[in-house]
Symmetry: C2
Subunit: 396 residues, 2 copies
């Protein structure tokens, strides 16, 4: 069996290198356009195809790091006839590295953010209507799926229409992306005033701008809400870009922004059978690489978890943030029609609704959660296929 040429299953355009030389334990790789990449010897070793490093069947590195050789095992570098990098090793067979694969790393296309569109914040004046896509197309066609997910990642929100009223719609749409995130509410769940309420969501009460499940370490990334029935008066759907509100506060009211990002609250749910708790600020930066999370479902914001001197300021900031989030400038309000599915970033977009009248009709939504990881993975795969389709068919 001939070995695969890359430590993965992707296709890369050939990008022949023009030179390679050793510099201590690094290899300096050069392209004819003057670009230069520095690769550490042991990183190259880990990415060798074959028995010592990359497993041929899974293309996963099977090396226990405790067994890595010394970087001095690298004994020579050269340019192969086809422009690949050729490395010789003391005590191991030589190895080849695909020039296009090296170039994709050099260009940063291996990074977490590589195929994910950058965030664009919005207010009602820049986004007066929900971005809208044809639901059946998204279910059947990968390019339509890619367009919808791209809008979702950029704006945090995008709507599908013409999906009908079946209970299975939200599951079908979710599985086009990836695994659904299960919680104590189930893999999919109803929002309707007909239910015995375990949450204020299942009442006819208005809901202030919020993001679901701040009681979790990592709240659900995206929320899919499908409207099955809506023939009552009231119950407008409200959406606010939390990022836009946070940007405004950061630039104009830094004290308010500061306390919202610093002062922690204990969030917990009050169910007899569950007791989820998390302590964090309203504007939660999480780890150094985590996306911003708004912990803004006030029905489960239960206790201040901050120095006493911060408490009055934190309440004042809370009030200010909520007033902005529901203002005409930031809150996009729309009718939620049967057959529509609104997807939004649950850690970014604050959703809510106006009160509705239970006597005039029914309002039945079905929801599901899909984590950021899943949306990003699907987007990367679709982007990769989209790009590969444009690669002229060279030898792989």
């Amino acid at each position: 069996m001939s070995l695969g040429r890359t430590p993965d299953f992707y296709r890369y355009v050939e990008h022949p290198i023009s030179g390679a030389q050793r510099d201590g334990d690094f290899v300096v790789i050069r392209w004819p356009d003057g670009e230069e990449m520095r690769a550490y010897a042991l990183w190259l070793f880990e990415n060798r195809m074959g028995d010592e490093s990359i497993d041929e069947r899974t293309r996963e590195n099977k090396l226990d790091p405790a067994d890595l050789p010394s970087p001095e095992a690298l004994s020579g570098v050269a340019v192969a006839p086809n422009g690949d990098l050729e490395v010789t090793w003391r005590g191991y067979p030589p190895s080849l590295y695909h020039s296009g694969w090296l170039r994709h790393v050099h260009e940063g296309r291996h990074t977490q953010s590589a195929h994910i569109p950058p965030v664009r914040t919005w207010t009602v004046s820049t986004l007066p209507e929900l971005p809208t896509f044809n639901g059946p197309h998204v279910l059947q066609n990968d390019e339509a799926l890619r367009a919808w997910l791209t809008a979702l990642a950029e704006l945090g929100i995008a709507r599908l229409v013409e999906l009908g009223s079946d209970e299975e719609v939200v599951t079908k749409v979710g599985l086009r992306i990836g695994a659904l995130r299960d919680t104590n509410f189930g893999t999919t769940w109803a929002v309707t005033a007909d239910l015995d309420p375990g949450s204020v969501a299942n009442t006819a009460l208005p809901l202030a701008p919020h993001a679901d499940l701040p009681t979790r370490e990592t709240p659900p990334g995206y929320q899919l809400l499908h409207c099955q029935v809506n023939d009552c008066t009231g119950g407008l759907s409200h959406m606010t870009d939390g990022y836009a509100v946070a940007e405004y506060l950061r630039d104009n009211e830094p004290d308010v922004y500061g306390i919202l990002s610093r002062a922690k609250w204990i969030f917990f749910n009050r169910s007899p059978d569950h007791d989820h708790r998390w302590s964090g600020p309203l504007i939660d930066h999480g780890g150094p690489d985590s996306p911003l999370t708004f912990r803004t479902f006030h029905p489960v914001r239960a206790f201040p978890d901050m120095p006493e001197s911060d408490v009055p300021l934190a309440y004042e900031a809370l009030r200010r943030f909520s007033a902005l989030a529901r203002s005409d400038e930031y809150q996009l309000r729309s009718v939620f029609a049967p057959g529509e599915l609104v997807a939004f970033d649950n850690r970014r977009i604050l959703h809510g609704r106006g009160p509705f009248s239970e006597t005039t009709g029914r309002r039945v939504l079905r929801g599901a959660y899909v984590d950021h990881d899943e949306v990003h993975s699907r987007l990367r795969v679709l982007m990769r296929r989209h790009q590969t389709a444009r690669i002229s068919d060279g030898p792989e």
Copy 2:
């Protein structure tokens, strides 16, 4: 309908207060034993039972923070005849606060860590055998479930025995805790060399000490592995307490510990249909309140994401960490017998296995993931019930 006395559904022992007075916008609450609590006026307002604040049916706060009154709405405080706190408000009906509920907040039993046992690290000399519990008891009895989950939270690992070999065992055990975490491998998944391998786990290769899915923002919290068949030679199960290794390095080799906690790697899976990526250090402290996460599944550790000067140090530290993790001092090795289920904290315990021989027999495991949130919620509910069972029946 008489209002519930607390903003939740729990029972509290009466703990009559002896005094209450106003201090600016705070209320100072005193108990006969000298304990004193300071409560902010608006926090008390948010926790009023009734129409303005706590919804009677859900016991959730239904107040939009933008509508909070000024703290000066608080006009008077007093001790009620039964020792509860009584507060009068300008423009709102007076409200009562259960003395036992106030005391539980004062004692910090409302916090995230309140009912979760503290972590105890271990090495092979302090934990020579896996802590073991009777599986059928855990499936049927809540006290047995509590004992098992307590060991799991403390030690990061605990085994169930006598569960038989049915494929459904792992689901049944998982659902005793809460929602299972689905991934592209499915809600439950097989580990066996019979499969077309999408991961090195499904080969007969040895697996170095690792933690699953470092490609995710928050890797799965707990892993349940149920052994259905194991009649081949080899394939010992390996378990290392990552916390113990990290403690040792922090205290004895601070440079190694430093680089492991600082230098980031891009983790990504190489599947044709998924492209999960995350960038983080091996010892990942995440957000300020996140539990430590070990990102140690080397088959998906793909690219350094750090300054070049850190790369050689990072490889050296990687080698050192892996050598410790698989040493006799830290790695607990055991036979995995059919009918056993080993549960472990996937962000703490590094698991692995010895190589096995595919010609001598089969080794079939079935796994599932359950997040920390779910384990902690279940533990809190069980602890609460355990404690409530000991409360003498006073009026609720």
